[in-house]
Symmetry: C3
Subunit: 269 residues, 3 copies
């Protein structure tokens, strides 16, 4: 049996234009919506407890990012993730700076109980989420991606979900096998909230490729890596990089993605 390709996941996304309910931080809202629209998904940002569960039921997937969390937003995240879990709607957790404060750790522990389909973070966040608390000093990655592979696999196995750990090299694992994805560009971490936007794009890919969250997540991550590589080829700095990056996400074809050489699949021992 042939494994469907990364490119077929992008085809499915373009055909289904999934509606993605995003509960994300204030910094990332605009870029998240723009990345989803560039990829041809349909973003919706809303969080009032009066409507959030009603809307999650309409959505094809949910993306939750704790970046600028506060109690009313946490309440919305809990309602939405509970609804997603109950209705088998895929959802993605982005545990921004979870290692930085106790509040973030408590909130993430509560959200994990609603069984995310995917967790997307940098190495510091994945390590912190796996119990190695207070690794991160903020939103930057300070731990080497390779060192965190064991944490990512353990986290995926424990929560029966996919973990995408992004950095200079990206790793996507379900606890049994993992994709290694190269690409991207040194300017990517110099543009704010690209990682946050990737989490929402993961939700869109997972919604469009039901039953294959490992492949779908890898396709989202590879799309970012390839678009970043292309944007970096012409950018003069982070301003022009972001513009070129949105254009590159828009221009990406399924063939581009399937022929993207810089990824490989490894089966754990």
């Amino acid at each position: 049996m042939t494994q469907p390709s990364l490119g077929s996941c992008l085809s499915s996304l373009r055909e289904s234009t999934p509606l993605i309910h995003c509960i994300t931080n204030y910094v990332a809202m605009n870029s998240t919506a723009n990345v989803l629209l560039a990829a041809e998904a349909s973003p919706a940002m809303l969080h009032a407890t009066q409507e959030v569960a009603e809307f999650t039921q309409l959505a094809d997937a949910l993306s939750v990012n704790i970046g600028t969390l506060s109690p009313p937003w946490v309440e919305a995240m809990q309602l939405a993730t509970h609804t997603a879990d109950t209705h088998a709607t895929p959802w993605v957790l982005d545990p921004v700076a979870v290692g930085a404060t106790r509040y973030r750790q408590t909130v993430c522990a509560d959200l994990l109980a609603h069984r995310p389909s995917v967790i997307r973070g940098n190495a510091s966040e994945i390590l912190a989420l796996n119990g190695l608390a207070h690794q991160g000093r903020g939103v930057d990655a300070t731990a080497a991606t390779e060192d965190a592979l064991a944490a990512a696999m353990a986290l995926a196995e424990q929560h029966r979900c996919v973990v995408a750990m992004t950095g200079e090299r990206d790793l996507v694992t379900d606890g049994h096998q993992y994709y290694t994805i190269n690409g991207g560009h040194p300017l990517m971490p110099r543009v704010t909230t690209l990682g946050c936007a990737l989490s929402a794009l993961v939700a869109a890919f997972v919604a469009a490729t039901p039953g294959k969250p490992l492949l779908a997540t890898s396709a989202a991550v590879a799309s970012f890596a390839l678009a970043g590589q292309r944007a970096g080829a012409t950018a003069a700095g982070p301003g022009s990089f972001y513009v070129a990056f949105l254009d590159a996400v828009y221009q990406l074809t399924p063939d581009d993605l399937s022929h993207f050489a810089q990824h490989e699949v490894t089966h754990a021992a």
Copy 2:
């Protein structure tokens, strides 16, 4: 008597640089401010109930967008729109995704009681607001603009306001006559919150051309259509489109707008 031209509305806007009080969603705040500044209006975003009424009294117009509404914001919207109504300050309602949840419908019904000068939405939102509830699945337009003309005219007549229904073709009506405006570009819906920013620009045009809300709204909509057309001529994707669009709004002249061929006025039977 000669009707003032669309271009004269832009001249008035540039001369008066009206102060526009915006109570809008988190996704749209930055782009809304940038579109207003590009057009030479002066944006101000604030929403605390401690100051909102005081500020609406200073402003030349108010723009209210319910995109990421929640109870404290709804309270601010009610105070501000009540103040605008009492002081005869023009205000614009943007009923984002009003068909998607009951909460949005209740909030919009309450706000309509404060008599907006203009309602700006896509066809799904205009249909939902006119009583055909639950048409929209989110923020996208899913109803054909033409099919919604009757709803737009009925809504305008019922609330004695102007209704701007935007999409591939834009319609602006006061319930008796309507402007049809073509232009724009297929990339426009691939950039987030341009519609939200248009609502605020409508407020600026209406403030600058007192007593002529139908004409002023049409001038704002035509400005967007023309700037979108020009931006689309050079853009490689949604990233470069947004940059070129802000530049085009900035470069637009009254003459450009007056000679913009793609609009016509129709008097209803």
Copy 3:
């Protein structure tokens, strides 16, 4: 003894990549993060009272901007500025539109008690903060920068802090001497929240050059003026200006800054 140069402040910033805790308005969050990243500082946006004091203790500096203030945010600002004051962490106050409403005046008076290192505002805001209330009609500068020099010096002396008053010409003073900085471009006020982002960049420079807040603030302001000048040389409007500006901040070298001719230091009589 030779005074360290403006360029050496930029070198220090690049070497230390300070972590800047930003409590800022919704409009400015994305551009503030992007300007800090372009300059090689590390931004973090968070405001929940559950974690704000804990995080301010981790940060190298704090930047507080009242643009879209509301009671929960004001509470966070008070906790964070109190923490910064107690731990001798430098912090910057950006009193957006302080002259526009009584609420803003009360909030700023309370925050000033926590002894900011730097106040950054336009001339209207500096005048209003110095007791000449209700000068501003919003976020625009309406008072001539020169006329406000006396207010800036008085404010700096009263609060034993640095005051940066930006406009067509920028002034930075500690109450005893002042830097005059020219540069920038007429398109700068046509792009939203560049001033807000500058306040956060001031925090980054002050963190990276301990004990020299007047020099560090001047270096931040001069960086903006020089980057603005360069961006303006190629921009076709505010859209392309913002892109070129981020690139210019990224490309700026310490040598560029040290050789930037358009600044001078004046000792008050």
